[in-house]
Symmetry: C2
Subunit: 387 residues, 2 copies
């Protein structure tokens, strides 16, 4: 423990030396942690308007700004917060040329393109308040020597719980029943003819990292047949404890599933992976839960599947782009149980990712390392799940 700290300090000292000697704009200066000087930090969060004051723990909105404004300003840093993130005249764009740190979230993503990275001459650090940094051009960030980090683990439980809720909502055909209530109807048959128990059904997760595992653990007492596909098989002790079966070949697993849950990051490989052809091979009436990223699905293929009944239900909180436009077809397809991007931004999650961002900023100011699992881009390298 003491040794680790000593090593971190040494690394930080090296970083300080590197910054003071290297040329501005080189990979070296940009990826290493700055240890001194007043910084310009920009945060992009969703606006809460009248909701901002309703809950003192609602720290994830633009108004409450992760609850770190006083802390940052008391140390002389500048802290700009906005929700205005799109187009050449937006508030974010104004600050791109001179910001040092940009804090973003997946819930209201500021798309950090190669172009923006190029313009951001002082940028050193991109922090994601939450999990999922695909709104950042990670290759461009790596090439520019930036550090990208997220608060790994901050909302994995939040998302896993939400996925289990969505599985139940689809399997049990909740929404048609609720719509009957608010429209003054009562027609049990209209719900029951396609309402099932989760017990005994086959559930497969595509990707089984932190969230996938938490989901499987929560599914265990439901008496399902649990399958998972991932790059790596769990160690056999964990696998036995969770009670799930590894499926090396995704396309052999998928047609077995009554319910498919997407738990893989958005990468070049996973983008559009659920296209017409792959959906066509799924069980008729399959239920799909996707809280990972909207772009993993082919938008129109999902719509067609829901319209034909080949997909029996689709639920998730992720869309492309976000916010979803008013005419996004997933709003209007049958048997959808969609919401805006919300699962990872519960009040509990906000408190955790706000604390995680604060900790990383503190490390950054001191020139210290972050917890290793938080790095998405470090020293020009992408974290394994994004490769």
């Amino acid at each position: 423990m003491m040794m680790a700290i000593a090593m971190k300090r040494a690394a930080a000292a090296a970083a300080t030396r590197a910054i003071s000697t290297a040329n501005s704009g080189s990979i070296l200066t940009r990826h290493l942690h700055a240890s001194s000087g007043k910084k310009k930090i920009v945060g992009v969060f969703y606006k809460a308007h009248e909701y901002a004051e309703m809950n003192p723990n609602f720290v994830g909105c633009a108004e409450n700004a992760l609850g770190i404004r006083n802390w940052l300003e008391s140390q002389g840093h500048e802290y700009i917060v906005t929700d205005d993130k799109e187009g050449p005249d937006c508030e974010l764009e104004k600050h791109i040329p001179d910001l040092h740190v940009l804090i973003t979230t997946p819930f209201h993503p500021a798309y950090v393109t190669a172009e923006r990275i190029k313009k951001a001459k002082n940028l050193q650090l991109l922090l994601t308040a939450g999990i999922g940094s695909d709104h950042v051009d990670l290759k461009a960030a790596a090439a520019a020597g930036l550090t990208v980090a997220e608060v790994t683990g901050s909302n994995t439980v939040s998302v896993a719980e939400d996925e289990l809720m969505r599985i139940l909502i689809l399997v049990r055909n909740f929404l048609p029943g609720h719509h009957q209530v608010i429209s003054g109807d009562w027609n049990v048959a209209g719900i029951a003819h396609r309402a099932y128990d989760l017990e005994g059904k086959t559930v497969g997760t595509v990707g089984c990292g932190r969230i996938g595992r938490l989901l499987l653990q929560r599914l265990k007492p439901f008496g399902c047949n649990l399958l998972y596909h991932d790059r790596i098989q769990m160690d056999s002790e964990l696998e036995n404890q969770i009670g799930a079966t590894f499926e090396e070949d995704l396309d052999k697993m998928l047609p077995k599933c009554d319910i498919i849950v997407i738990n893989t990051p958005l990468t070049e490989k996973t983008k559009g992976m659920f296209d017409k052809e792959r959906i066509g091979k799924l069980k008729k009436g399959v239920l799909i839960v996707n809280n990972a990223r909207g772009a993993i699905m082919d938008t129109q293929a999902v719509v067609d599947g829901c319209n034909s009944g080949h997909i029996g239900g689709y639920s998730g909180d992720v869309w492309y782009p976000q916010p979803a436009p008013k005419d996004h077809p997933w709003r209007y397809m049958p048997n959808q149980a969609m919401t805006p991007h919300i699962s990872g931004t519960t009040i509990d999650a906000q408190l955790r990712y706000a604390a995680g961002v604060k900790d990383m900023l503190e490390n950054y100011f001191k020139g210290e390392e972050f917890p290793p699992q938080h790095y998405i881009v470090k020293e020009g390298e992408l974290a394994s799940q994004y490769r």
Copy 2:
């Protein structure tokens, strides 16, 4: 095992003797199983209309009549099925004077009043396809020497799963998000300011019979603080395995709970037990899930609690009366996640309770006993949970 069967046969033989010798209309003739003769059986189920043919396993509706018509008629019994159950001119009323067996469900309850029991001179057996026989005047049934039985266990898993779904829907504030989607909006803050994780919250179940235990088992991996109140404490091995704490005093448990789930039958004691006073003592913002019976709540007290925000959310599938009229105030109160009575009538549950009803009819025709846990009224005595 062999001995138990031998004892049952002896009991059945005794029953047959009793029927053949006792006077018509006495307690003895009516509560014992008839072993001979063609019977008139009436079933009251919800109509499915166009949905009846959509799923071959949709046996719980009036059209598909538990899938036992051919079986009954091939043995010469008469089988009348209807959904028309209210008022003096309804179809059910016509058959009351001469039916021998009445099959009802909690989802579309035929209220078996003392008056109807008095008129039903040939009635011997009341079977509930499902669980929950409070739509029968059990005291009147006992006094008349009828047998009342339900398919205990047939849909306990179905209801427990549904309760967990409702807990998550309320805790995570699902419905406002879904309503945004269908109305073309996107306002993450409008959802997030009152969305929480289930992890770490205190969940208490009022009543911890079969359904309550299944719920607690499914809640275990969520990392909650689990409490239960019941007449009887679980044995300590089961209690440890489930990880829940017994609360002898209901009113000491309730104010500790972030989430309260009702898992107690409707009896004289539980009717209206959640009145204005008791609700007033709950935690501000408490979430309540009630898939037990609507009449356990004081209807207006729930409405007032939701309107004031003292109740943060209310979800259930039970109402009084059922079907809920168009102007039932629970349809219109804020933060409700209600459905029609559906949780125990999934396709999986229907197959189980249809099989259970068939088994009991078979026993009845043979003059044999039912599985002991199925009896609600037997030989003039109410099952313990209904006393």
